[in-house]
């Protein structure tokens, strides 16, 4: 059963990676002059939207968290609204953190905010899909031995990888190479994207590698 689940995870993750690659390639067929670097803001939007749609669809199809109780329509609506609010708040929070890390405060607000949205897409949105608007569960997942399924382990890995990628992406900014990708926030968002993709690929492999050690205790 575990093997099958890992395979499903791998498929889902590869789909995500594939989508991200497509977001970089496909729009240029419809839109002359589209490049990831040149029209970076547009790409950020496209990438965020695509990844979030895909994640939501995957979540609906795969239903990784089994504990689903039947709930009323109103409940579902309120849940959805809560999710939206959480997502928005996480965007704001990421924005604040990025600014605290040294991003310009007033100039290029749009860039910073879109970068925050991208980061939220890679991290918060997945949490929302997987765990719902339940902070306690989030806190549990992101602590040692907190993951209770391979999906949650994968969540851990991808989230950490995205954030690490974004962090490393800041390193080339001060260098005087005069490359187009050194402009804020391109290197960071690219770093986050690559980190996310790496996380998506690493997660199933790592889980597969450690499947003997990984014993998920149930609630």
């Amino acid at each position: 059963m575990k093997e099958a689940e890992i395979r499903r995870l791998l498929a889902a993750n590869l789909l995500c990676v594939f989508t991200i690659i497509l977001t970089a390639v496909v729009p240029s067929f419809f839109w002359d002059g589209f490049t990831v670097l040149g029209t970076h803001l547009a790409w950020l939007c496209i990438c965020s939207v695509c990844v979030s749609t895909l994640n939501i669809i995957l979540h609906l199809v795969l239903k990784p968290n089994q504990s689903h109780k039947r709930s009323s329509f109103a409940h579902k609506i309120s849940r959805f609204l809560k999710c939206c609010i959480y997502f928005f708040m996480s965007c704001i929070l990421f924005h604040a953190i990025i600014v605290l890390y040294g991003a310009p405060l007033i100039e290029s607000v749009t860039e910073t905010f879109l970068f925050a949205v991208l980061l939220s897409t890679f991290t918060t949105l997945q949490c929302l899909c997987m765990l719902g608007p339940n902070i306690q569960a989030w806190i549990r997942v992101f602590s040692k031995n907190g993951a209770m399924s391979i999906w949650e382990s994968s969540l851990q890995i991808t989230t950490i990888c995205s954030i690490l990628g974004a962090w490393f992406g800041a390193f080339p900014i001060p260098l005087d190479w005069d490359r187009p990708w050194q402009v804020w926030p391109i290197s960071c968002s690219l770093g986050a994207t690559f980190g996310y993709m790496a996380g998506l690929i690493i997660a199933p492999l790592w889980i597969h590698w450690n499947r003997k050690q990984l014993t998920y205790k149930s609630r």
Partner: protein
């Protein structure tokens, strides 16, 4: 000759054409530069005729302007019109010297054309107008092309062809009495860089051309190699101005042949040599009076050479005037005399070159090794001191003796051999010896310890896992430290350091929080007591922690608004807050700022006092307490008045001018006086606690409060004031001289980050342990060994303190002095409310502070007896553990500081040929090492002060017990 010339070959064909077609008008030389071959140093060399050394110590840091006597100064003094066009480095070096100037920005190395096109636009009209005596056109395209593409690139061919065309048309514009000198100030390596001393870098060309014939002899097959500085006396004498005072170049006598016969030409050359030799002799003489780095016997030898040559010269002149000599003999004597002058000049130059311009690689490596081993030593000693008690003598004292012994021996040896004592060598040998001693002793002890360890029941697997975990715990902070050190090797990172350091700091803090959460320390109860204290207390702690972290991050970010700018970052705007109040135009803004400053200051004092009062200090009637009570407000008053006076516009006060003058001096002195008085009082009696208190109410509330806080409060408060004062005065002085700028930039760039990074790196080692401890339960804190974690705590708190200090003192114009004193003290109460028992008072950001916990009365927690018992126990166990902790703290601190310094030194050493070495790495290195020295001294002072307080506390406590 080659079938397929490289892009940079055969491009200046016009020069070749001139040299071959008019051999008496033109000549090509190999022009050898002295290292360092960076542009600014070369310009200095080409105008002063001396060898620019590492840093011109005499010069002002704030301005690059050449203070020495130089060619341009001489020309201007003698009324020559000097016109300049090109590289704007000259503007900084020779401010307001030019009759007319066209400067173009040189900073952007990627820009090949701006400077050249600018020059070409102005060159010909200026030449034709004739309104100049000397015209200097400094083209940069070839140099920039080298930096950008390297020499082996089509762009270089284009650039050189352009230069060729320029020369061709320039020669058409030349008048008959004009001398054209085409020279490169340095060469370039195969990658297009320069700055070092390799053959390719120091070799350039000099081309001389005039429309009137200059040379009598035919040019040699291979171009003659002449040192670059030779141009200085040549140009000076050709233009009829004095040779610059510090010139050590030799005049190019060929250019002084004139049109006459051989004898008159030789006589003319002789007189030129004579002037040149006299100038060099004068310089050497006065130089040897002030500096000892020229060997005496060689100087004497030179002196003899000179005086004999001069003597013969006068004789010869007399004979020539008397016409007693016939041409053949005269010629030969003239020739020999000339060669003697030449010999003198060359030897003098060689002597100076030898003693001034050298990279002493062996010493560099030796120094690096010394620093590296010291770091290792610090690290090992700190580890050792934690594990064993009796190692002080064997591992610290004996090595010291070793070092002293070696120093003494070396000194004696030198005394016996009558050689000059090189203090540097002796001290480094001594240091090496003491380090060897340490390692030897350590090695001797090591097996013993291993045996001891072995005798205990081994738990290999657990030990391994623990060690692994410890390593992982170390890995993150050490990784950050590594990034930090690695950043020293990149000029971009050094330039951007003011932003890199907060970034790393923020990362470390976030990492810490994340790690704590990951390990479950924020949510899972650890102590037994926690279980019934319940969930809410954790929640509270978390919020406090998060709030603190957020506040810290915000403060760090806000402190970014007070950055100075470096010129390398063109889009950077200097902060509004950095300008002194007096320079603000807007009166309302000025008043607002002033009020804000004063309010902040007063708030600070008030906070300190109320804090002290809150924790039961300040209840005795000691002089120190009185000082805290009345001295602080007084100090604040003085400072406020001083600000008011200093910031008012000079002319607005009219008649009160004299009063203002007095006030400007008096207020700072009052502050100094008060501050030093406070310090003295503090040293005399660091206790501010009324001892009776404890006796009066043994059962109820007040446990003995240690006097420490006050001492630290003093520090917290007084020292910043002093620095503020100094900053202020410094600032105003600088303002008057109207020379600020680059220094401040350096200051802040490196300094700010130095302190910050110190704090940052400090956190490094036992960081996680600290916080976990911080958040651990309150009674844990009582009963178990918190002492060993002392250093950790300090660091953590010290680091917080540093930033808060920044944010509170923000409105002060912070300047140079901060850089010299990254020691600007600061303090912060890190009061973890979850455990009100813990009070941290680290007082100086990187100084260790005495951290004492005050078991405060907690009605619900402990019984009084227990508390008293605890108190006694703590104090009793204090002496040895406390000193160990202090030592460990000091060592660890030195370790991180040293690592950083090592990185800096290595960067300066390895990149000594880098384009940016004189602009970025060398200043960074200087500041870093100065900071290291200052902070080491302060560390010692801080530790001794803490010891003093500790002594006072223990005697006081003894008295208490006796009573």
């Amino acid at each position: 000759a080659k079938t397929s010339p490289l892009p940079y070959e055969n491009k200046l064909s016009f020069l070749h054409h001139l040299a071959t077609s008019q051999p008496r008008h033109a000549r090509l030389y190999r022009f050898r530069a002295d290292p360092p071959t960076a542009t600014m140093q070369r310009i200095k060399g080409l105008t002063t005729g001396s060898l620019p050394t590492f840093i011109d110590v005499g010069s002002n840091f704030a301005t690059y302007a050449i203070q020495e006597d130089n060619l341009l100064a001489q020309l201007v003094q003698n009324g020559r019109r000097v016109v300049f066009m090109g590289d704007d480095t000259w503007e900084g070096l020779f401010p307001k010297k030019f009759f007319r100037s066209y400067f173009f920005p040189s900073f952007n190395v990627k820009d090949l054309h701006t400077v050249d096109d600018g020059i070409l636009q102005h060159l010909y009209p200026t030449v034709d107008s004739g309104e100049w005596d000397v015209l200097i056109a400094h083209f940069l395209g070839v140099d920039h092309c080298g930096h950008k593409h390297g020499p082996d690139h089509p762009e270089m061919a284009k650039k050189l062809t352009q230069m060729n065309e320029m020369l061709r048309s320039l020669v058409d514009h030349l008048g008959n009495d004009t001398l054209l000198l085409v020279a490169g100030d340095h060469g370039m390596t195969e990658t297009g860089d320069h700055g070092g001393d390799s053959e390719k870098e120091v070799n350039a060309a000099l081309f001389v051309y005039s429309k009137t014939p200059l040379f009598v002899t035919v040019p040699p097959e291979e171009p003659e190699a002449i040192p670059q500085v030779n141009l200085v006396p040549t140009v000076a004498l050709l233009l009829g101005v004095p040779i610059p005072y510090s010139n050590i170049g030799e005049v190019m006598a060929e250019l002084f042949s004139g049109d006459g016969d051989a004898v008159s030409a030789a006589l003319q050359q002789l007189s030129v040599y004579h002037i040149n030799a006299k100038q060099v002799d004068r310089f050497l003489h006065s130089y040897s009076l002030v500096a000892q780095d020229l060997p005496a016997e060689q100087l004497q030898h030179l002196q003899q050479l000179f005086s004999s040559a001069v003597e013969e010269h006068t004789q010869l002149l007399a004979q020539v005037q008397g016409a007693t000599l016939v041409p053949p003999e005269l010629e030969s004597r003239l020739g020999s005399l000339i060669s003697r002058f030449q010999l003198y000049l060359r030897e003098a130059r060689a002597l100076c070159t030898q003693s001034w311009a050298r990279f002493h690689l062996l010493r560099m490596v030796g120094g690096c090794t010394l620093i590296a081993t010291s770091c290792l030593l610090c690290y090992m000693a700190s580890e050792l001191s934690a594990s064993s008690d009796s190692f002080y003598r064997s591992c610290l004292l004996y090595p010291l003796l070793w070092g002293l012994m070696v120093a003494l021996l070396l000194g004696l040896a030198h005394a016996f051999t009558q050689e000059g004592l090189d203090l540097l060598l002796v001290s480094s040998w001594a240091a090496a010896a003491s380090q060897l001693g340490f390692f030897w002793h350590w090695w001797g002890r090591h097996p013993k310890q291993a045996r001891l360890m072995g005798s205990q029941p081994p738990l290999p697997s657990a030990g391994l896992r623990q060690r692994l975990q410890a390593w992982l715990g170390l890995a993150f902070p050490m990784g950050i430290l590594l990034f930090r050190c690695g950043a020293m090797f990149s000029d971009s990172f050094v330039v951007a350091e003011a932003r890199v350091a907060p970034f790393l700091l923020a990362s470390l803090v976030m990492l810490l929080v994340g790690k704590l959460h990951w390990d479950g320390r924020l949510t899972v109860p650890e102590g037994p007591k926690q279980q019934f204290l319940g969930f809410s207390s954790y929640r509270r702690e978390i919020w406090y922690l998060l709030c603190l972290v957020a506040m810290l991050l915000i403060c760090v970010r806000l402190s970014g608004f007070f950055h100075q700018c470096r010129e390398e970052i063109p889009q950077c705007r200097p902060s509004l807050f950095l300008s002194p109040l007096a320079s603000l135009r807007n009166t309302r803004a000025k008043n607002l700022f002033y009020l804000l400053c004063v309010v902040l200051l007063a708030g600070l004092v008030y906070a300190v006092r109320s804090w002290l009062r809150h924790y039961g200090n300040l209840n005795s009637s000691d002089p120190l307490v009185l000082f805290v009570r009345w001295g602080f407000p007084l100090v604040v008053l003085c400072i406020a008045c001083y600000w008011a006076v200093a910031s008012s516009a000079d002319d607005s006060l009219g008649k009160l001018q004299e009063l203002v003058q007095v006030a400007v001096v008096a207020f700072p002195w009052a502050v100094y006086g008060l501050a030093s008085m406070g310090l003295l009082l503090l040293l005399c009696n660091p206790m501010t606690v009324f001892a009776k208190d404890t006796r009066e109410s043994p059962g109820s509330i007040v446990t003995p409060y240690l006097g420490v806080p006050t001492s630290e409060v003093d520090f917290l408060h007084v020292i910043p004031q002093i620095y503020k004062r100094m900053q202020e005065s410094q600032k105003s002085r600088l303002e008057r001289g109207s020379c600020r700028a680059t220094v401040a930039a350096y200051g802040l760039g490196s300094v700010y980050s130095a302190a910050l990074v110190i704090a940052l790196t400090l956190l490094g080692l036992p960081w996680y342990a600290v916080i976990s401890w911080l958040l651990a339960a309150s009674q844990f804190f009582y009963s178990t060994g918190h002492q060993p974690i002392f250093p950790a705590i300090h660091w953590n708190a010290a680091f917080v303190g540093f930033h808060l200090d920044h944010s509170t003192n923000l409105l002060q114009p912070r300047l140079l002095l901060t850089s010299w004193a990254p020691v600007t003290s600061c303090a912060f109460v890190l009061e973890v409310v979850g455990c009100p028992l813990l009070l941290l008072w680290p007082f100086v950001c990187e100084m260790p502070s005495l951290q004492k916990k005050k078991p405060k009365k907690e009605p619900r927690e402990e019984l009084q007896e227990v508390e008293e018992h605890m108190m006694e126990m703590r104090l009793r166990e204090s002496p040895e553990k406390f000193s160990t902790a202090l030592l460990q703290l000091g060592l660890k601190y030195l370790f991180v500081l040293g690592t950083q310094l090592l990185a800096c030194v290595c960067a300066a050493m390895i990149l000594r040929r880098h384009l940016m070495v004189w602009k970025v790495f060398a200043p960074k290195f200087l500041f870093e090492s100065l900071g290291f020295v200052v902070s080491s001294i302060c560390l010692l002072l801080g530790i001794s002060l803490v010891m003093r307080v500790d002594c006072a506390v223990s005697t006081w406590f003894n008295q208490l017990q006796l009573r």
